[in-house]
Symmetry: C2
Subunit: 424 residues, 2 copies
């Protein structure tokens, strides 16, 4: 596509202020082009630490940063807090709560959402973890289960209240199960008089034969062994047939649990279907190698909304480094095109920085290049990487303090239930 | 009352884990007596800093501490997270969501709630500030008003969206108005591209002729002058006739404002009426000088639920030091009575430690004994007192860090809106 002659400066509309959308806005440089960024929240959320908000280790504002504050120095940029309701790639317009925007370029970075393998009715009984509201709801229900257990005298009911089932053995499921185990077995240990939270049962259910399928088998086994040591019951190769209120139905029987957490299915934003290209089973847009949408070179899709094989034939995973690299790639291409440079379009080359998951205190697994780490070194690497990528000096210091506090005292500060009562 | 011979150890039921109830549990000492503490939340809330959560300076968990964690070392104590629904002083029972409890002594420390001078219908349009949920709702609506203003092009609507009316010129109203002014005029200043939050209008309305009626007139005037300097429009001697959605009706006209915050009326918990004694206009129980309820020497009322003149004829105000002193007084009396000591009942002697209100950056007013402070010294004293009384080492460090951060950067970290969207 040639640099189109337009009366007004070229306008780039960016949808979503996750890792992809934000990185685009931070790295795109052009003297006149105008950027319009639309997000349904006022904050960028550091999703990798969301499970710590859900398990009361961190408070919500510590892993979020106002979008306007992050981008306040970027010139020619307008932020709109609005839900996007439609994309019309033929008319080149985006419809949102804040009005209709036309664009010269569109960068779709709307991210993923929890999916239930065709069973949306499970959502009510097994919440997923995508937003701060999800995390606060899960925190409330986890803490309330122990409160209810303290107030009941029926041993079966007490057992049910003190059981947590985590569905999905990827990084989120492993981290959630580990954090739930620490919450129950360590943090809450001395809080109650009639129940012993150390007797809480945490069950991790995974459909495939092992945990952490995207990491080498030895690391999956390490995570498995550490979770079992921490008192988590790990069940691999087990399929979930049905989920009802407080019940997980497996082929081998029914698990009764007050809390069922869903960490199994990630799909794309339903707006992917509006891009007019092929979508895969998870609802992700099948983009071209330059990250544009086939037939619409002015529309790019990056991050969890896109299904992509890079130029080396590598499947690009739905992780934040991939979204950030894709954002930079798209920014360079648009800059070059607006400058009228030749060969502005290039295939995306994903650089796999590795992958990691934390299990608990001083326990994690990590793969970086050919390096495989476990135990304390992996855990230290995990801490370091997460602090570096967390946005905002204030958040980094606050999170570092909370972690140090929890590490040395075995306590967690954010064990606060709100949203419990209707306004009085 | 003589020490009653009972088969089981004496049981003391405490209602409410605010400053009064918590102090009672922390200071009461008896080898066998059993304490049952019932609260409708799982946390003790440091209400004096609630306005900072509402104005995005602090996050909710920083001013709250789990009750179980605070009291985990107190022997013979059970905590129940439950709403109290009835008190039967004749049958000596308390009914709650967690069941019916009988007692030998009852300590009622249920605190206050926002009241609307006989206009409960105003609550919907002018939220009060009593709980973390209130604070989060106000924070969301304050921040959303600026987001909406950024998206509108109608100048009248923009002006309305950027107007905040605070009703009530006591400490809470003064602190809220000052904090709203700082939020709009300093913190949000560079966040927006189309609106200038510095043009936001904050109006403080007070019915009596001056601010901070409980402090000396010179300090009320000081607060008034500092607020005006900060761009707050202060209107004293003005009565609110009606409140509707986005409208405050005064004799002199109607104020149009997206946000109306109510800091005017504090009344007692409606359960005060169950104590079978006289109640005052604010719904507070008129207790005897030993803090028991007339006719029921085994029932004590402390804190904001009680209307009291102490033995020197001094009206005991509804502030946390009064609740804490009353709690200690009641604890000593019950201990002595259980020991069979003579003269176990004594009139309560309130020691007025003073009163203070912060207005903004380096600006506060304080009265301690005969000492009157303004400006930086008052502000430093305010910081010191609030950090000392905030419960929990973690919270103290976290709040100190947030304050230092805000002081040096003119930013606020907790500008995060959640609860904005229905789950997707």
């Amino acid at each position: 596509m040639q640099h189109r002659r337009v009366q007004r400066p070229p306008r780039i509309v960016v949808l979503g202020a996750g890792f992809g959308g934000l990185t685009f806005c931070q790295t795109f440089r052009h003297p006149t082009a105008e950027i319009v960024l639309i997000d349904r929240q006022n904050h960028h959320l550091f999703q990798p630490l969301l499970y710590q908000v859900a398990t009361a280790a961190l408070s919500a504002p510590e892993i979020a940063q106002p979008i306007r504050a992050i981008l306040c120095d970027v010139p020619n940029l307008n932020v709109h807090l609005a839900e996007v309701t439609d994309i019309d790639v033929a008319a080149r317009t985006v419809t949102s709560e804040a009005g209709v925007f036309d664009y010269d370029y569109l960068v779709v970075a709307l991210g993923g959402r929890t999916t239930y393998f065709g069973h949306p009715e499970w959502e009510k009984f097994a919440p997923g973890l995508k937003t701060l509201d999800d995390a606060q709801r899960i925190r409330r229900e986890l803490l309330m289960a122990f409160e209810k257990a303290e107030n009941t005298s029926d041993p079966d009911e007490r057992r049910r209240l003190m059981t947590i089932v985590v569905v999905g053995g990827g990084p989120t499921g492993v981290e959630l199960a580990g954090a739930c185990s620490e919450l129950a077995h360590t943090v809450l240990r001395s809080d109650f008089r009639r129940i012993d939270p150390a007797h809480a049962k945490i069950i991790l259910v995974e459909g495939s034969p092992r945990l952490l399928g995207q990491l080498p088998e030895s690391l999956g086994q390490e995570a498995h062994d550490r979770l079992v040591e921490m008192g988590v019951e790990v069940r691999c190769g087990v399929r979930v047939l049905d989920i009802r209120k407080g019940e997980v139905h497996l082929a081998e029987g029914i698990l009764l649990a007050e809390n069922i957490l869903w960490a199994a299915g990630v799909g794309a934003s339903p707006l992917a279907a509006k891009l007019g290209c092929e979508i895969d089973r998870a609802g992700r847009a099948k983009a071209s190698q330059d990250l544009s949408v086939p037939g619409h070179p002015e529309v790019f899709a990056i991050g969890d909304i896109v299904a992509l094989v890079d130029k080396d034939g590598q499947v690009v995973p739905g992780v934040s480094p991939a979204a950030m690299q894709a954002a930079r790639h798209v920014a360079r291409q648009i800059e070059d095109e607006l400058e009228g440079l030749p060969d502005a379009r290039r295939p995306f080359d994903y650089w796999d920085k590795g992958s990691m998951a934390t299990i608990g205190r001083s326990a994690a697994v990590a793969k970086m290049g050919s390096l495989e780490l476990t135990g304390f070194p992996a855990w230290a690497a995990w801490l370091f990487v997460h602090l570096v990528f967390l946005i905002g000096f204030r958040n980094r210091v606050a999170v570092m303090f909370q972690w140090a506090y929890s590490y040395f005292t075995y306590k967690r500060g954010a064990r606060i239930i709100y949203g419990l009562r209707r306004p009085s």
